[in-house]
Amino acid sequence: MVEIKNLSKYYGRNLAVKGISFDIQDHEILGFLGPNGAGKSTTMNMIAGYLPSSNGTVTINGFDITEQASEAKKCIGYLPEIPPVYPDMRVEEYLLFVAGLKGVPRAERKKQVQSSMQRLHIEDMHRRLIRNLSKGYKQRVGFAQALLGDPKILILDEPTVGLDPTQVMEVRNLILELKQDHSIIFSSHILAEVSAVCERVVIINKGEIIAIDTIDNLERNLTADTVLHLTAEGDKDKISRLLKDIQGVSSVSDIKELGENRCSYQIELKNESVRNEIISVLLNNQCSIVEMHLAQLNLEQVFLKLIQEKKKSSLEQLIDETKQDNPYHQED
């Protein structure tokens, strides 16, 4: 298990990561999401022990990453953003070296290297010089390296970058397979990937956590859960008027014509309980309902919404601060 408490990182005077805290349970895949420059890689580097934190602690299986670095690092397999491979080495030779570096006993090295090469489907490449491999293969060699030493925790910084769609699927399946005996932190800016693999996500922006939750919860909570999508057959204006007359409906918008006599509507409700009333009103007026569902945002929309909300609130904060700083400021 990994515990991150109040982790901060200063680059000179610039605060890149601002006191973030979260944990990763055993056998869990945690997604780490954020736009470019949000502090994802810095945080991952701190968890892996490459960069020391300016403040806060990272505890890995009970070992502090700075105090008991060696024990903590033995529990970690790390794949950084750029795979750390030596171009002049052959694939198998490189993996044997990393196994030795991680303190795998000599007798087990060959076996572990073979099994990690099998998992990443790079056995055919074992004699090839790394410099001659394609980007995708280099990435897989980097991934294979992270699995050596059988670490309990895997930190994967954008592991599918540079892979073709089939390889992406393979890596996703591998991550799901690895979940059985590892805890995984997985960063990406491809949201579809995160929602396909992770149960829980941490969304980070400008060094701050803006949400930690399961994907389902995030999608549900942030959905304007009072927005209803309706497709119905009947006169557009009549339906629109009928809907607006129902108490509990605040607005009807985004009316699209889908075909002969069929339109879709977006209805904002004050509460969900008016759904039945909508159905009965429409049916009583000889309008047939084709489809009706509560609108739900996907992870991509959730992500954008969270980031936009954050931007808006920081802008408001800035305006407030400016007003306070300027006593001569007059409200218009």
Binding site: Y50, S70, Y78, P84, V85, D88, L101, K102, G103
Partner: protein, 243 residues
């Protein structure tokens, strides 16, 4: 730690790098050897191996920064530093493994030049005490230079710049002796004694005369230790202030 040492050795010997440098070292030594024999006085058939080292320090030391320039700079450039620093090895062990690998290559270079004394031994007489001490002295001097070269490679992060800076600093250590001998410095006895204390060339003179002084051994070992510690601190410092 042994894995890293082995990998470093492979990176030197599985490429032409070490062979070219060893060949260059042998070439310089052979030239010096031939010129020493050619300049022997006709009636006294005598020349000194320590003298070869002493006269050609300028060229020998030239090779060391080239040997050390890649040690940390390549790791930084290729992003493989992350792999080493996130492994269970401590920074101290990483630096030591790399240092020992370069030192081994240097030792192999020196062993290659033993061909000449052994050849002389077959056809003439050799003063073994002086020869062994000269080799030991040169090895110790090389050890300090390797530590300095590695520090520069780690500080600059660029192989070419570290090699150029290394050449300047190492030739500078030779200049210390010249400065020590100047009239200006001789006028101040304290300054003179301070300079002669840090001059590695003067310490080598004792070795070349077949004198093994504990003081010199401690000087070279402690200078190496200080530079290695500096390197460890430099790497740690860079991690802390990484940007």
């Amino acid at each position: 730690m042994f894995s890293l040492y082995k990998k470093e050795m492979q990176s030197y010997f599985f490429s032409p790098f070490a062979y070219v440098l060893i060949a260059l070292f042998m070439l310089i030594f052979s030239f010096a050897f031939v010129t020493s024999i050619a300049s022997i006085d006709s009636n006294v058939l005598k020349f000194s191996f320590p003298g070869i080292f002493y006269d050609n320090f300028f060229f020998f030391i030239f090779i060391i920064p080239i040997l050390t320039m890649r040690s940390f700079a390549d790791e930084r450039r290729g992003n493989t530093e992350v792999l080493l620093l996130t492994s269970p090895l401590s920074v101290g062990k990483i630096v030591m493994a790399k240092f020992l690998a370069v030192l081994t290559v240097f030792a192999i270079m020196m062993l290659a030049t033993l061909f000449f004394p052994i050849y002389i031994c077959c056809i003439g007489k050799i003063m073994w005490s002086s020869l062994i001490c000269a080799y030991l002295g040169f090895f110790l001097w090389g050890m300090v230079c390797i530590a300095i070269g590695m520090l520069l490679s780690s500080l600059t992060g660029n192989a070419i710049i570290s090699a150029i800076l290394g050449e300047i600093i190492m030739e500078g250590t030779l200049l210390v002796d010249q400065i020590g001998g100047s009239a200006l410095v001789n006028a101040y006895p304290y300054l003179n004694s301070a300079i002669s204390w840090i001059s590695m060339q003067r310490r080598f003179v004792y070795f070349s005369q077949g004198m093994f002084r504990l003081e010199d051994l401690i000087f070279f070992l402690s200078a190496t230790a200080v530079v290695i510690c500096w390197n460890i601190i430099a790497i740690e410092k860079r991690r802390w202030s990484h940007s």
